[in-house]
């Protein structure tokens, strides 16, 4: 009897260890796979020409990513500019000001929206945002455009990353000890002064981390962006011009990429760029957040 229990215990431990170790190796394996696959591209292209070259002609063996990188950076940056202020204001509102009922309800609604698929955001963008952007461009600037643009992509993306930023910032604000607020109030501070000087100050690095997490989500988001960005590989002159992102490049080149030499390798390289960037961003952000949570307990 005792023996069987012992054996079960040992066996279970072994199986779990295998699962746990392979789980932890997953990221590294992914990284290696993509690196190996994208190695071939470096036989004929330098990193410099890949990242800064403006020519994307797989048939001619040219794989310049400049416009795609620019497109990705613009879309990411603009969507953060929209989402971060709104997300931070909303989270302060929900964590510090709103009546408990509104705040509890809003938090679950935000969570639900974090789970809505990106094609749904995409289709909403196509139905509402794209025509609206076209209309605005026409009315205000006299431009005749389709509306599939940098601005449309950024608006749709900003709504997708809003829940990420808001959730983290709310969690951080709620983590600030109530006593710190009491101390500030007792010195005669108003609510806003307390929020500004004490609460935000205490979690300031965490807000940065939340923004970085939002950035990295925006960076890799594919379907919704692809549906509304217009996908033209050129430098946008203004927010109404179409853009082409790295993620959309990968998605759109599926199928063709196996038939042309080096093509698949180039696409894998793009994927590697996304992976490395996102993992880097996420690691920095998570480390910052862990720091805050750990120091706060003391």
């Amino acid at each position: 009897m005792f023996k069987i229990r012992k054996i079960k215990d040992k066996l279970s431990l072994k199986i779990i260890l295998i699962i746990a170790i392979s789980f932890n190796l997953l990221l590294i394996v992914n990284f290696i796979l993509l690196s190996v696959k994208s190695e071939k591209i470096f036989e004929s292209n330098s990193l410099f020409s890949l990242l800064l070259g403006g020519n994307w002609q797989p048939l001619g063996g040219e794989f310049g990513l400049k416009y795609f990188i620019a497109g990705t950076l613009f879309v990411t940056f603009l969507s953060i500019m929209l989402a971060a202020p709104l997300g931070i204001l909303c989270s302060i509102f929900l964590a510090e000001y709103a009546p408990k009922k509104i705040s509890v309800l809003s938090k679950s609604i935000i969570d639900i929206f974090a789970g809505i698929p990106s094609v749904v955001y995409g289709i909403w963008g196509v139905i509402c945002i794209v025509p609206a952007v076209a209309g605005v461009a026409h009315k205000l600037f006299g431009l005749n455009i389709t509306g599939y643009s940098l601005l449309s992509a950024s608006v749709v993306l900003s709504i997708m990353i809003f829940p990420i930023i808001t959730n983290i910032v709310i969690e951080l604000i709620e983590f600030v000890p109530q006593e710190l607020r009491e101390v500030s109030y007792s010195l005669g501070a108003t609510r806003w002064q307390t929020v500004k000087h004490v609460v935000i100050r205490k979690i300031y690095p965490g807000i940065i981390a939340a923004i970085i997490l939002g950035l990295s989500r925006a960076f890799g988001e594919t379907m919704a962006v692809m549906m509304v960005a217009g996908n033209v590989a050129a430098m946008p002159r203004n927010v109404f011009d179409p853009v082409y992102t790295l993620s959309a490049l990968i998605a759109n080149n599926y199928g063709e990429m196996m038939s042309i030499p080096l093509y698949d390798s180039a696409v894998m390289f793009v994927s590697l760029v996304l992976l490395v960037t996102v993992v880097l961003f996420n690691s920095i952000a998570r480390i910052i957040i862990h720091r805050i949570m750990k120091n706060g307990i003391k």
Binding site: E182, S186, L187, G188
Partner: protein, 253 residues
Amino acid sequence: MIDNGHITIKNLNVYYGKEHALKDVSIAIPDKKITAIIGPSGCGKSTLLKSMNRLVDCMDNVRYTGKIFVDGEDMLDPEVEVIHLRKKMGLLLQKPYPLPMSIFDNIAYGPRIHGIKKKKELTEIVEHYLKEVALWDEVKNRLNSPASMLSIGQQQRLCLARGLAVKPEVILCDEPTSSLDPISSQHIERKFIELKNDYTIILVTHVLRQAKKLADYVIFMYLGELIEHGPAEQLFNDPQHELTKGYIKGVFT
């Protein structure tokens, strides 16, 4: 009842949701004395203290009735300007809670909020109050380092100085020495005795020894009710109520 004191509480009831945490408490706090609030834990001492500068507002689910007069104004009146009443009362909590900023900024926080902008003036204030709590010599060379770098005992003195810097009339203390080592505790206790010439001090404590040592006036609470109050000697030497007798003899704590 004394009606000309800083603080007079009339028929105060506080509820946390359904829990009736303070039951019809009425008391006048004597001026320029140390008043100790004693009682077993959970009896509503902190609640009473936090009602006095209306910090209970900041909690969820709190309801209260009654009046707390501070210099003649009813603190609990929804119309009253809470900010300027709160400023009259400094607060010292169980643990030191330095604000997330430098030592200098911790002290300057209150004065800045109340409109003092000049660097010179602020520097004087910071120096004055750090000296007041005998912290100046220890920190004068690192005023710009984060307050969290100080030891717990130093932090608590910093918090006291921070409270004094807005020139309160009353100091509310919630077991201010419970997280400190004996030496730091003594420091704070000695300070209180000095301060009572200029301030009204209300001290929540569960250390009877501390209450005996410091208090001029004592309030004994039990399960949300004010059981007995009176001058320290009278309450400690000749308690009227059975519960008070029991508590003082150490039958329950």
